[in-house]
Assembly symmetry: C2
Homo-oligomer: 254 residues x 2
């Protein structure tokens, strides 16, 4: 809010806006980044897929609205909803982004470990996971929001310990590496990845007890859980694309 508010103004003299949240909920399944989408049941964009989200209640903060909508769409329990990583992305304010009325939307990115299909009560009946790289054109400006969210998550993996948010409570270093490879779309050297993760204080901590096997074949891998740290110093930088064909957008957002 803001300083030079007009003299003696009446709230209703100002253009009323609707405010919503939109959620880019990501998970890593079968070495692909997936995003949760819902099918729209009414106009506009009836039948198109869209990011889950909804209107803020009259006395609700945006993050609370995001968690509430997420619970409705995914059927996750309150414990999981309270614990998951939810991060405000940016706010979209194009006056024409919704043909019905003036709506500004606060977008969030959420990260989940791989879960069973969303069991939908209510609104979530039509929710399902999609490969994040193969979504058709989405409703509203959700293609833009989704792309921004993917960029942001990729950038944050470099200098934060966020990747563990994609993993179950106990995970192997191979699974953690798979998160990086999937989000970035590159392959990493396993010994070097291992050295980096284990030397970063507080990134992961070993779990006592017997190791578990991975896919049936190969040596069983040791288990770790997420450590205390949230930042990663020095960062784990993406391999530079040295070829002359830049594949992504230029400046990363963060």
């Amino acid at each position: 809010m803001s300083a030079p508010a007009p003299e003696g103004y009446d709230p209703h003299a100002y253009a009323p806006f609707a405010v919503t949240v939109d959620l880019a909920v990501f998970t890593v399944r079968e070495a692909r980044l997936h995003v949760l989408l819902v099918e729209r049941g009414q106009e506009p964009h009836r039948g198109r897929w869209a990011l889950p989200g909804g209107f803020l209640l009259p006395r609700e903060a945006a993050e609370d609205a995001a968690r509430r909508e997420l619970a409705e769409e995914t059927g996750l329990g309150p414990g999981a909803i309270g614990a998951l990583h939810l991060e405000q992305l940016r706010t979209y304010t194009d006056p024409d982004r919704d043909p019905r009325m003036r709506v500004v939307s606060v977008a969030y990115a959420a990260l989940l470990p791989d879960l069973p299909e969303p069991r939908g009560g209510g609104d979530a009946a039509s929710a399902r996971w999609w490969d994040a790289g193969s979504t058709g054109p989405l409703a509203f400006d959700h293609d833009t929001i989704l792309a921004d969210a993917h960029d942001r998550i990729g950038a944050k993996l470099e200098y934060s310990c966020l990747a563990t948010a994609f993993c179950p409570a106990e995970f192997t270093l191979g699974e953690l590496q798979q998160v990086y490879e999937t989000v970035w779309g590159v392959e990493l050297d396993r010994p070097n990845f291992r050295r980096k993760v284990l030397s970063a204080p507080g990134f992961v901590q070993p779990v006592d007890g017997p190791p578990r096997r991975t896919g049936g074949r190969g040596k069983p891998a040791a288990l770790y859980r997420a450590g205390d740290a949230t930042a990663l110093h020095p960062p784990l930088l993406r391999p530079q694309r040295t070829d002359a064909s830049p594949s992504g957008p230029e400046g990363r957002d963060r």
Copy 2:
């Protein structure tokens, strides 16, 4: 905006919100980070200092509103306003952040080279620069916004070429280093800073012609202008605080 919109809804059935922009406008003056504040002329918080900002017009995007407000507050010409670095920070949605009504605010950070005092027409009559570290308690939640903005700018200096936005069109490496030192609150080694900046492709480019002097004393420094690059690879990381007394908040936002 958002997917499961209720059936047959009426826009006015939804809680109307006011939407504003708030601006954290920074510059570096005399080796201190400064922020532009305005004194509030009416309740609430009459007489308190606040970030400049204001309401969105009915068909105006937030970034347009931010540039408009900035022009009103600073008296900058359209050219400067169009060129300056403006970056969406995050959106503040606490239901009680404004006692008058429900207001969500989209916050922006703006970076300017050192300029003469704001010449205020209209709202800007009471605008002035403050040392960003010595602002009293500000109106609304502007202390939080200001701190978030400072954190974000500091983080972005690491991996972007943003620092040049604080400099005039032509600047010396000493002035650029001063930006880093001021925003981060640390001292940097000059030879190493120079090596890093000059080896980063597209960060700065030399200006032909005679060098200019700095403060009267000492060898005149060569001039540079900002290059094409927006990202900095590898990043210019802040020196790690190795002492046991962490002085800043833990995880950086970005």
